[in-house]
């Protein structure tokens, strides 16, 4: 029997608390902030590691991005992944969610086999949340999105809570399948110093288009069904504020009067 395999999709993103936006030029200054793993993907990774701890198997983290994304995969290894694979090459650059999902799907198919795929609900830079379900569709496997709790971990079957249609559903899914997780699902562990040391020495595999046997015409700007026609960085939505500094009684009185709130005169 081949070993159970859990795939984690992970993206390197700029730290959103530090990234700077050029309002005049309408662009994002990516060099303004350090790079880190997409925070939602750490929840996905944690969930995969928990699955491995409960049922056995190995965790493979896959990312697509420039060479520096290796550090995000090393981070994933420090946090419990057994292997890191980086899809890298100029052909991949500029891919939209469809092309990205296709590449990730091809990469997953290149593995000897897989049981569950874990993805974060969205990335903090792209904000789309589309890649997880698109990968599932490409692989022709079921998926459950916005998972807020994994309630049962078994070989061949996963049981989760997820919210939609105004209710919380308990769903079970046969493997192979894919889940996308919210921040509620767990608290990602912090790697120990020893884990980090070990991960530093870990080797990250780099796969190019030939390794996953994908037609580069389906990738990048040429292969993507969507393109960004232009981008604007709107100025922050600051408002003209009326600041009330009086004692609470007067301030509240003024506020309610201005707003015509609760004054049934």
């Amino acid at each position: 029997m081949p070993e159970l395999t859990y795939v984690v999709l992970i993206k390197q993103v700029p730290d959103m608390d530090q990234v700077e936006f050029d309002y005049e030029e309408g662009r994002v200054d990516r060099s303004s902030a350090p790079l880190e793993p997409n925070p939602f993907d750490l929840n996905a990774l944690e969930e995969a590691v928990k699955y491995k701890e409960a049922v056995g198997g190995r965790v493979v983290a896959i990312s697509m991005g420039p060479t520096q994304a290796e550090s995000t995969l090393k981070d994933a290894i420090a946090r419990g992944a057994d292997e890191g694979i980086l899809l890298q090459g100029k052909e991949f650059a500029g891919s939209d969610t469809w092309a990205t999902s296709l590449a990730l799907g091809y990469a997953i198919e290149t593995l000897a086999g897989f049981d569950l795929v874990f993805a974060g609900e969205k990335t903090v830079d792209g904000d789309t949340g589309q890649v997880g379900p698109e990968v599932a569709e490409y692989l022709d496997i079921p998926h459950i999105a916005f998972v807020s709790e994994v309630s049962k971990r078994e070989e061949g079957k996963i049981e989760v809570e997820s919210e939609c249609w105004g209710a919380t559903y308990t769903k079970s899914m046969e493997t192979p399948g894919l889940i996308t997780v919210t921040k509620d699902v767990n608290e990602p562990r912090l790697p120990s110093f020893k884990d980090k040391q070990r991960a530093r020495k870990a080797e990250i595999k780099t796969w190019g288009v030939e390794d996953i046997a994908i037609d580069p015409d389906n990738l990048g700007i040429t292969g993507s069904p969507t393109r960004v026609a232009n981008m604007e960085v709107p100025p922050p939505d600051k408002r003209e504020s009326l600041i009330l500094r009086e004692d609470p009684g007067n301030a509240v009185n003024q506020l309610l009067e201005k707003m015509d709130l609760g004054r049934s005169k």
């Binding site: 936006f21 698109e134 969507t226 981008m231 408002r239």
Partner: protein, 324 residues
């Protein structure tokens, strides 16, 4: 004829109100394209198709199959793809609800076509291109997206557009679509249970009263709750308090929580991190209460009360009660 199609999300009983917002926007797009507006209604039960016509659909494609009674994306995708192939729309609008955001990518991949997530603006340019405007980078930029494949799919945020008016004299056509669903795919995902009632649905609230780090202890949420009650509103919270377990995640307002656009938003003891602002900055009126006059929240508020929330909030409650 060019067709704009709206996906009418429903739980078998009720169509999600975002569908009526999409019909209003869809009508505008259809007119600019010189085309027609249709709706796709997929349901496990008999459900009112007339309402979609009253709200602007020229034609409703209705597919009914008991397998659609549950929110299982593979099944709904299969049905939706069949409807799309029969109807042949050029533009497809889907509500960016949890279900819509989970279903739409599957449909886009199945049709090998474009999908733009979570749009806040949609337009047709002079060359009749469909322009999709969406925030990215945690809401800090707006990207204008064009597609080069057909059909062109977009998910659209709830409460971004106004609902289409209900015109009961409108006429339209209902086309029942015979679905051929592969039973072999079913059963991969099984529904074991369904819990309702605990939903906070912050998105629907007209008034949200939110508490942040300025609260000293968990029990003090009662004060926030009391103000919310007086105003017939709902209780929100900033992320740190949710992370600390003081209140459930369903109350969290912000980028990683709920995005709300109420008539009135009270930020009590919330400093105004961009994480939080992303979830509430579009509220009609924002009132900030904070003892730190340099808190960034004051720059985003219409009214700022500088002072101790433990004095101001009780005073608000008192005066509001008195006023009534």
């Amino acid at each position: 004829m060019t067709q704009v199609m709206v996906f009418a999300e429903n739980n078998g009983e009720k169509v999600h109100p975002v569908s009526y917002e999409l019909l209003a926007k869809g009508r505008e797009l259809a007119e600019k394209l010189g085309g027609e507006l249709t709706a796709a209604l997929l349901s496990g039960n008999e459900i009112d198709t007339g309402e979609l016509i009253f709200r602007g659909a020229d034609r409703v494609y209705f597919g009914k199959d008991e397998a659609l009674a549950d929110p299982i994306e593979t099944v709904h995708k299969e049905a939706f793809v069949q409807v799309i192939e029969e109807a042949g729309p050029e533009v497809i609008l889907i509500g960016a609800t949890n279900f819509g955001r989970s279903l739409a990518p599957r449909v886009a991949m199945a049709l090998d076509t474009s999908l733009t997530a979570d749009c806040t603006g949609l337009d047709i340019d002079e060359d009749k291109n469909f322009i999709q405007i969406r925030p990215a980078f945690s809401g800090n930029i707006l990207a204008h997206i064009k597609s080069r494949t057909s059909p062109q799919l977009a998910t659209v945020r709830y409460k971004e557009f106004t609902e289409a008016p209900r015109e009961t004299e409108r006429q339209g056509e209902v086309m029942e679509v015979e679905l051929y669903l592969d039973r072999g795919n079913q059963g991969q995902v099984e529904i074991l249970g369904e819990q309702r009632g605990e939903q906070v649905n912050l998105e629907d609230a007209e008034v949200v009263v939110a508490g942040g780090r300025g609260l000293k202890k968990e029990e003090d949420f009662e004060l926030i709750g009391e103000l919310a009650e007086v105003l017939d509103g709902k209780v929100g919270a900033s992320r740190p308090l949710v992370d600390d377990g003081w209140i459930g995640r369903e109350h969290q307002v912000g980028y990683s929580g709920r995005r709300v656009k109420p008539g009135i938003y009270f930020a009590c003891g919330i400093s105004g991190q961009s994480q939080h602002l992303a979830g509430m900055k579009e509220s009609d009126t924002i009132i900030a209460i904070n003892n730190d006059p340099s808190a960034p929240i004051f720059e985003y508020a219409d009214y700022g009360l500088v002072g101790d929330l433990y004095e101001i909030v009780p005073e608000l409650i008192r005066q509001l009660k008195e006023g009534n």
